[in-house]
């Protein structure tokens, strides 16, 4: 844990001490692929013939991000915080159930920039290194599921590595936009209480850990002092 704090402090320092700074705010669409969740949801559906509608796999999510950038020579680096929300519903007579999945990602982002006199570029590659935290919960008939009066939630987390491909769109001197598409991989995603939330068992259908892949697409608005400095 101590190493983690040190790393975060270095990342933040790198972002804040750059010669120029910028804010990015983005929104988009994110897709999750979590095999252990899929297994539990499939087993849930197969084991309950009395349900009229299957639970969908957890997949499509709304995605929001905010990042703060600094620049050091040819590199932009920053801290990015993002949140995505996905849900999966199954509706039957007397019984509506919904899984809600929140994901928060905190990443250190690194972007290589061309020299100021170089034309373009039309796109950037951003490398993300960071961590993910998730929360999975269930609602039944509009109410949150609790066990013995305690809300039933599954927390999860893991380290992640991501790559984003961004296309800049100039708006004015200080403002610009970007279309982006990217993917993130969590080689080890630990979510020990997910099966009790999804399948209402533990150790029957899925493992406590696995991997997670997400891919996303969206648009972000950028405010950057860098542009001001360049024109001046």
């Amino acid at each position: 844990m101590k190493k983690w704090y040190v790393l975060m402090a270095c990342m933040l320092a790198g972002a804040l001490t750059g010669s120029s700074q910028g804010f990015f705010v983005g929104a988009g669409f994110q897709q999750h692929y979590i095999p252990e969740y899929d297994k539990a949801i499939r087993s849930y559906n197969s084991g309950r013939p009395y349900l009229e509608e299957d639970h969908a796999l957890i997949g499509a999510a709304t995605y929001l991000e905010a990042s703060f950038w600094g620049r050091v020579k040819q590199w932009n680096s920053g801290i990015q915080l993002s949140h995505s929300y996905s849900r999966s519903r199954s509706e039957s007579c007397n019984f509506n159930t919904k899984l809600r999945f929140h994901q928060v990602q905190l990443s250190y982002v690194l972007r290589w920039l061309p020299k100021p006199d170089t034309p373009g570029p039309w796109y950037y590659f951003d490398l993300h290194v960071g961590a993910t935290g998730t929360e999975l919960s269930r609602m039944i008939n509009g109410g949150s599921v609790s066990v013995d009066d305690e809300p039933l939630r599954a927390w999860g987390g893991g380290g992640q590595l991501g790559l984003t491909f961004s296309f800049p769109i100039e708006i004015n001197k200080n403002r610009s936009g970007e279309l982006f598409a990217g993917a993130t991989f969590l080689p080890y995603f630990y979510s020990p209480n997910a099966e009790p939330v999804i399948h209402q068992t533990k150790g029957l259908t899925s493992e406590e850990s696995g991997h997670m892949i997400t891919w996303k697409i969206g648009i972000r608005a950028c405010y950057s002092e860098k542009r001001k400095q360049r024109t001046e």
Binding site: F29, Q31, D38, K39, I41, R42, S43, N45, S46, G47, R48, P49, Y50, L51, D54, H55, A56, L57, G59, A60, S92, C93, N94, F95, T97, W122, I140, N141, V145, V147, D148, L152, F167, I169, L179, A181, E195, P196, Q200, T201, K202, G203, L204, T205, W215, I217
Partner: protein, 447 residues
């Protein structure tokens, strides 16, 4: 292509990618197994909760299935007593142990009426009924660092065992796990429940647990259940499995799910050809399943304060009116382990009832006999195709439950509460979970 064109194309490409991604996602299977994934025939032996649910699942996916039940009725350790009181009673399993389970969903889906059992208990301690005891015995056996000794031996070590005022409160704690205090392991009892996830609160059915299955599971498979069919041989030496009943009739199947109560396997009622692996047979023997009975006592008035814990004849009495819509006063004597065996040895139902009334008279100054109206004994120990209450962890049981539940060649499969490895053994939803596990195994074997 200039920058503007590139961005336009990128935007269209992005929208296309989202649409394609969603379409591909929608094509992914949302079920582990679907109709048509398995085309063989399955025979299920035992029409208890696990057997019924396995058949229900298989039938829902179009699999040919037949359920062979030795008794003259289905339900296994689920049963319903009507006419004794002005509300129905559960002859067998009656509490839903936590709602976060597959049965919790079924109950909500079918709008089945249940209520949390909030009945209070009094402890018969040092000749008096008390709200609590200086040592919380239930809590003492919930700790994770207990040694692998019996409840009773551990209680002796702590100074609240044999001969102490706590002796029958310890018996109650063991009986709650379906065991006598001298047989159940303090360590393995907790260890085996470490995956428990359904919740600690107990719920009661306004009708009965049996009704839940009878109304919502059985209807789709009723024509596939053969009662009075005592299986005594399973031959899995060939490409098909041949099941033979006591009358010599044979049933051929590709897969067989054995969901009989543990004592049927322990006592060797079913002959397997070839013989089951010795480790598996040893595992059956290592698991415990002790005597158990439920005695319903109807009274003209409720002289008792709710549940009573710690009697020397019966360590657990429960107020049956709790959670029911009716006015009759019925006290349930929930007798397990050594106490159940002692009562069984009395030889008749009336003798059992008399022994219980005598104990209650002692506690309530003769009020029990004065208010007694009727009694009914459901002795699961003497039920020929059950022979006990439910499984428990004996001293030194280790991984026996896992070995007992292992399939043979992915064709001979074992289900039922005793075969649950997810901490929910001893429960109905635990039995159902093993049905899901084994049906999944059947479908996976076909892939």
């Amino acid at each position: 292509m200039n920058r503007k064109e590139f961005l336009h194309k990128s935007a269209y490409g992005a929208l296309g990618a989202v649409a394609l991604s969603q379409w591909l996602w929608a094509c992914r299977k949302t079920e582990l197994f679907e109709e048509g994934d398995y085309s063989g025939k399955v025979v299920v032996i035992g029409a208890g909760a696990a057997g019924l649910y396995a058949a229900y699942l298989l039938r829902s996916k179009g699999v040919e299935v037949e359920v062979l039940e030795a008794a003259d009725r289905y339900g296994g350790r689920l049963g319903k007593l009507e006419g004794f009181a002005d509300y129905p009673l559960d002859l067998g399993a009656q509490w839903l142990h936590g709602k976060n389970s597959i049965l919790g969903d079924l109950i909500k889906r079918t709008d089945t009426a249940i209520s949390r059992d909030n009945s209070e208990s009094r402890f018969w301690f040092e000749g008096e009924l008390k709200r609590s005891t200086p040592v919380d015995i239930a809590d003492a056996f919930s700790k994770e660092d207990l040694p692998d000794v019996s409840f009773l031996d551990y209680a002796d070590q702590q100074g609240w065992g044999r001969g102490s005022a706590y002796e029958y409160i310890v018996e109650w704690a063991a009986g709650d796990q379906g065991a006598g205090a001298e047989a159940i392991s303090a360590f393995w009892n907790i260890k085996e429940e470490e995956n428990w996830s359904s919740g600690e609160a107990d719920f009661k059915f306004e009708q009965t647990f049996f009704d839940l299955f009878n109304n919502h599971v059985v209807p789709t498979i009723a024509d596939r259940i053969r009662t009075n069919t005592v299986v005594n041989r399973i031959d899995y030496s060939g490409s098909s499995i041949v099941v033979t009943d006591q009358q010599g009739q044979t049933y051929t199947a590709d897969k067989v799910i054995v969901s009989v109560p543990l004592p049927i396997l322990q006592d060797g009622d079913i002959q397997f050809t070839p013989a089951l692996p010795s480790a598996k047979v040893a595992a059956f023997q290592k698991l415990g399943m002790g005597p158990g009975m439920k005695v319903f006592l109807k009274f003209s008035e409720a002289f008792y304060p709710g549940n009573i814990v710690g009697g020397a004849v019966c360590a657990a009495y429960a107020d049956e009116r709790e959670g029911k819509s009716g006015s009759d006063h019925v006290l349930l004597a929930f007798v397990m382990g050594t106490q159940a065996q002692k009562l069984t040895d009395l030889g008749s139902d009336q003798a059992i009832i008399n022994a219980l009334l005598a104990e209650l008279d002692d506690m309530f100054d003769g009020a029990a006999t004065a208010a007694y109206l009727d009694g009914r004994v459901q002795n699961w120990t003497t039920e020929p195709f059950v022979r006990g209450a439910y499984s428990y962890a004996t001293v030194g049981v280790g991984e026996s439950r896992k070995t007992a539940a292992e399939p043979i060649e992915d064709r001979l499969l074992f289900a039922g509460e005793a075969m649950n490895l997810n901490g929910h053994h001893q429960t109905v939803h635990g039995a159902v979970e093993t049905a899901i596990r084994e049906v999944t195994r059947i479908f996976e074997s076909a892939q």
